[in-house]
């Protein structure tokens, strides 16, 4: 069984797979966070005085404000709570939330920056080779949902960390539902050997 001439194929037993230098790194795409400003806001006044804000109460009950740096969008509700989306890292999301707070403060509302919480982090990654989802789904577990008629990707719900991983036959994956960046990387570390064992050769 001497495989000395063959290239070391990545497998679950291969020690190299655990070296993080060798496998690809997921890139964060979106961070969603919420903050409570602690006082009721007058959305009509905000939309009148602030730039880059839209408010269509018939369509949706919140005002949408956008800032350029970091490039984010905030949904501002009249209760004083806001949802900040579009940031690329946790830190950027915090900065953006603070900027929104500053803008609202300058408009004359009494803001307190309460309960900042990252709700969702989404990252994408490419394992580099096509994957056989059919084989993966027979290996099953109650974690997998693969319905090629309904959605071309396989949905893997990992219990720990609690994230959802969408696996596509091209080899690209999306990791969503994490609350911390570390969870994303931990999830990827867990899923990478599994994905590589279901590569499509040819």
């Amino acid at each position: 069984m001497a495989d000395t001439d063959q290239v070391m194929e990545p497998s679950i037993d291969n020690p190299f797979i655990s070296s993080p230098a060798l496998h690809p790194r997921p890139t964060l795409q979106n961070v969603v966070s919420t903050v409570n400003f602690g006082c009721t806001l007058d959305l009509k006044a905000i939309v009148r005085h602030a730039r880059n804000t839209e408010y269509n109460p018939k369509r949706f009950a919140a005002a949408m404000m956008r800032i350029r740096e970091p490039k984010t969008t905030a949904l501002i509700f009249s209760s004083g709570k806001i949802v900040c989306t579009g940031a690329k890292t946790e830190k950027q999301s915090l900065t953006a939330a603070r900027k929104y707070a500053r803008i609202i403060q300058k408009l004359g509302f009494d803001i307190t920056f309460n309960d900042f919480k990252i709700q969702n982090i989404v990252a994408s990654c490419d394992v580099g080779c096509p994957l056989s989802l059919v084989r993966m789904s027979t290996f099953h577990g109650e974690f997998l949902v693969y319905e090629p008629e309904l959605f071309p990707g396989l949905i893997y719900r990992m219990k720990k960390p609690k994230v959802a991983i969408l696996v596509f036959p091209s080899g690209k994956i999306v990791i969503a539902g994490a609350q911390k960046t570390d969870e994303i990387f931990e999830a990827f570390k867990n899923i990478y050997p599994v994905l590589m064992s279901f590569r499509k050769t040819k």
Binding site: V134, T138, E142, E147, P148, E149, L150, K200
Partner: protein, 312 residues
């Protein structure tokens, strides 16, 4: 022939059941152990074309364990020769007032039966769909949902569990008003409910193109050789990196096989039989074309025939 304890022989002996007299007789000493046994098979045979007033069946339909009272149904009948308004008078009102706790269930079962008849499904699948629906209904959370989509999804899951999957589009065609998206969402919901209730025991394999081959081919009227070749081709095609829904791959394979044979089916016919759009079949054909020599079996078509295939 069974074993029972005979009181005369004082031991277990072989016992014969005499159907004509309804007796259970010990074969060693001839003692009758039980007499007047009740025959529970059906008394009369029913044929589809027979109808009308002369229905001699006295016992009603088979008991349905899913319904609350086993499906007992005693109704006040319209007397012979009376007009329709008799039933809407006092007797008829008494009949209908008693609120039947199972009315929703019975209606749902009837809808499932209609849908499965339209698809030509066996009674096993229909019964399983009824069971699934009952299990979901027991958890009251399904009230607000689209009933049609829920019933269609029950049928879809039943077909899958019996290893005779039907495409969502096929189920769509018999479900009145439910769209593919709604059925898909209802299906996810049911799977989750069943998982919650019975602790993750929902067994549903993934669909493969091969499961649908027989049916699509027979809908198109392809000959046996072509059907066999198509099934082999679809098996081989799973190894290649073709990122398409299995149904689309099946349709494209059928298209290739029919193009290679003598009776070429037009794209439109294949599209109608499989439910795949013509443009999708063309695109899947484009994806399959590079591998066509490896997919189509050698005994069916030779190299030159493959060269004659239209290049996409």
């Amino acid at each position: 022939m069974a074993d029972a304890f005979c009181s005369d022989c004082k031991r277990h002996t072989e016992v014969v059941f005499d159907h004509s007299a309804g007796d259970t007789v010990c074969s060693e000493c001839g003692l009758v152990l039980e007499s007047h046994s009740i025959d529970e098979t059906s008394e009369w045979r029913t044929f589809a074309n027979e109808s009308g007033d002369n229905d001699p069946v006295r016992v009603g339909g088979p008991t349905n364990p899913l319904l609350a009272d086993g499906g007992l149904s005693t109704v006040i009948a319209k007397p012979n020769g009376a007009s329709g308004e008799f039933l809407s008078s006092s007797l008829g009102r008494w009949q209908n007032r008693g609120s039947n706790p199972d009315r929703g269930l019975i209606l749902a079962f009837k809808t499932i039966a209609t849908m499965s008849d339209r698809l030509g499904l066996v009674a096993t699948i229909k019964d399983r769909a009824n069971e699934i629906y009952k299990k979901v209904e027991d958890q009251k959370s399904s009230r607000g949902r689209n009933q049609d989509a829920l019933l269609a999804a029950c049928l879809y899951i039943a077909c899958r569990q019996e290893d005779k999957p039907r495409t969502v589009k096929e189920i769509c065609s018999v479900a009145n008003g439910a769209t593919k998206k709604e059925i898909g969402r209802a299906k996810e919901y049911i799977v989750k409910q069943l998982g919650l209730e019975t602790g993750q025991s929902v067994e549903m394999g993934t669909i493969h193109a091969g499961d649908f081959m027989r049916r699509f081919c027979s809908n198109l009227g392809m000959n046996n050789q072509a059907v066999k070749a198509a099934q082999e081709a679809v098996q081989k095609s799973e190894e290649f990196d073709i990122r398409r829904s299995p149904i689309s791959i099946a349709a494209a394979v059928i298209y290739i096989i029919t193009q290679l044979s003598d009776d070429k089916k037009p794209l439109r016919d294949i599209s109608v039989a499989t439910g795949v759009a013509e443009g999708t079949i063309r695109n899947s054909y484009k994806d399959l074309y590079p591998h066509v020599s490896k997919i189509i079996p050698n005994w069916y078509a030779k190299e030159e025939d493959l060269k004659n295939l239209i290049s996409p």
